[in-house]
Subunit: 310 residues, 3 copies
């Protein structure tokens, strides 16, 4: 099987195939075993990863930096909350070329959709999109489908119910698009009308003949859900008044979880700010803390390995 | 002797025993030898430390990060001056669980007393308190007693004189409490009346039948001091007018040091902002720059080793 | 040949000799080969570098951190945009002593001229100046002359034309002074009258009997230039109205480059903010992105190696 990740950037999920996913999952399984048995190894020794985070991040940055070091590699942390604090106003293309001179792979988060692709165009090394504004977050989608595969044992004939804010939530975009490559997937998007699924994603689903519906009533679909994918209201991307209107309206508690099938999952990319009550944490369907988080590190280890080694 | 540090969090000095201290000191001696001879070794290879610093730090963070790397380990720097810049509003318990998924040990500083304990409750890996607001700083106290032991050759029958601001100064709390486990220790707290010793520490000393006094007159006790432990006025924790009232009033100069016994010590956790005049630096009793600082790294190396290896 | 870098600080270019430069260049050549063939090696294993950046930096910090890790060493990132965020008001001398207790070498950037020298005075380990305000940036000058040597095959009998803002631009200072050690170098400084070459540099050149001129007309000299060294208007160091007066006036485009000799170079320490049009990037004389940047890492690897190993 061909390693399509080798020496390539990962900007979007758009061109990923089932084969790509399963190759990554197999490598992630290997990484899990490696970490649990030995903590890691030296397969990325003398390889350096630049972590360019123009937006704050703890999960994604933390898991990438740990992933790199568990495989023996090094990292350069470049963190700032604005363009100017990192680049003094230089173009993303220049920044891409500059870091290409030093490191072997670039992981980048930025508030502007399309920014990571822009930087990658002049970069001479692979660039991984760690979130570009309200657009995409491909490694999140990959760890999500990996977690679904592990917990439900399959990725076909599933009903995924997205729940909450969609209008500014990149993990929804990447996951919804990535799910289209698996057979007979059904999706429901349950959101306040002000922050519905983004139009480009809606069109992507239609183009791929995916069965989906949009509603604001979770009760209608919760008992049929295989996965309840909960989102956070992205305060940082919206007007104050809109935030206060929708924050706290879409809450998952045990009343809701009790309506779900015995074999089903509650997921959330985290951080949560009250969207899932703590009472849910101990339910066996709760996958957000104990499944998605460690899988995030294994998937990122696998991805770095596949990109840097053939 | 049992290694009570192994796989445990270190949140407070409260339950530490003399045996714990001496086991740590012995390991720190070994670390000093190791660093001077070879710079370090690989005993923490493939182990990763998260450095969660919600407050600025250079000494503590710098020595922990160096300590980890000198033993072959890796680190994840997570630095921010507010909760939101690190966690976007998630609970400390969630942050604890998330980082537990990635790393082997968490070192944390935060402005809120009790915050580190809170995070540690859901963490699946050991958590080290690197300072929680005005509350505690246990590794500082450990390096302080280690330095006293090294310089004075004993930890019993000593008179420790704390000098300066106590009301918001976590190293005083941790050190005063830790000293209670050593026989016949006497303490004097010399401070402006506005920023006296914190009441919980006073009660802790009383409960442990420790001989101590509080005064605002250093002259009364300086000639009997074995250790003069100087503090910084913690501007970041107090009102502007209180700061200006007490800053610059409690200064250590050679006039004061000349009143001290020949075999005694001047200590300060640093940074100092004028509390000890530079003229004191060359006096053999000055331990803050050339003794406490390197010992900080050796103690943290020893602690990480004892926590992660049995 | 004696390694004059060994165990020494590098604060200024003032005392560097041709032999020093050529020893460094030779080591940098070796580093380039090493990186291209194997990514690096372990010659700095168990050595730790503190990266004290009191000013934002991506290029210099990124290349130093990468350099250290490619040689097997570790690093401590200490980043802040003000004194207080790093040091809570302690003196630079104290900070120097503190970090000396932990690490093997300190790399420092700061907004105040002379600050790095100040810190180095009490430091017990070598300190490398990574830029001190409008004063010096010696490693930039070293990578610049290394790039000139590589591209033009010589460092003598050259005409270097500096172009743009000189009044606040430390790379100009360091490079102009460093060039004085090579025979028959001629320099022209083309700048707006408000931001001419700094007087101490002018005096340094005179003292060393260097042939130089100052003008505001690039047309007069461009056809004789071997190197066109372009600068950025340092917004962060000047008044708003001065910035707007001079920004965008000194632009390099293909019209200008066409006037240059076939065998010549356009250099810029980067970041650029429009001073060199993108159309120039593909011209073979453009050295800023594809030559200077990678050379920056090789030179810093070479320097760290020469300082830490004899």
């Amino acid at each position: 099987m061909k390693n399509n990740f080798y020496n390539q950037s990962l900007i979007t999920v758009d061109n990923l195939t089932k084969n790509d996913c399963f190759m990554l999952f197999e490598r992630a399984d290997e990484m899990k075993k490696l970490v649990l048995e030995k903590g890691g190894d030296d397969r990325l020794k003398r390889r350096i990863m630049a972590a360019l985070f123009y937006e704050p991040s703890s999960r994604t940055m933390g898991s990438f930096i740990t992933a790199m070091q568990r495989l023996g590699g090094g990292f350069v942390p470049v963190v700032g909350t604005s363009d100017s604090s990192i680049s003094k106003g230089e173009t993303l293309e220049d920044t891409g070329m500059v870091y290409s001179s030093y490191v072997d792979v670039i992981v980048m988060r930025h508030s502007q959709p399309g920014s990571v692709e822009k930087l990658s165009k002049k970069a001479l090394v692979p660039v991984i999109n760690a979130g570009d504004g309200i657009n995409e977050h491909p490694t999140q989608a990959l760890l999500d489908v990996y977690t679904i595969q592990n917990e439900l044992g399959k990725l076909e004939n599933l009903h995924i119910v997205f729940f909450g804010e969609m209008g500014h939530y990149r993990p929804v975009n990447s996951l919804a698009k990535l799910l289209t490559i698996f057979p007979e997937v059904k999706m429901t998007f349950v959101s306040p009308p002000e922050v519905k699924l983004q139009e480009p994603v809606r069109q992507y689903l239609r183009k791929n003949n995916i069965q989906f519906q949009e509603t604001d009533d979770i009760k209608k679909v919760i008992n049929d859900a295989d996965v309840l994918y909960v989102t956070r209201v992205k305060k940082e991307y919206m007007a104050e008044n809109l935030y206060h209107k929708i924050q706290g309206k879409y809450i998952v508690d045990m009343n809701l979880v009790h309506m779900m099938k015995r074999k089903s999952m509650v997921m959330h990319p985290l951080p949560r700010v009250g969207e899932i009550k703590e009472e849910v944490d101990k339910d066996p369907r709760a996958a957000y803390l104990t499944k998605q988080m460690p899988n995030g590190m294994y998937i990122r280890m696998a991805l770095l390995d596949l990109i840097l080694n053939n």
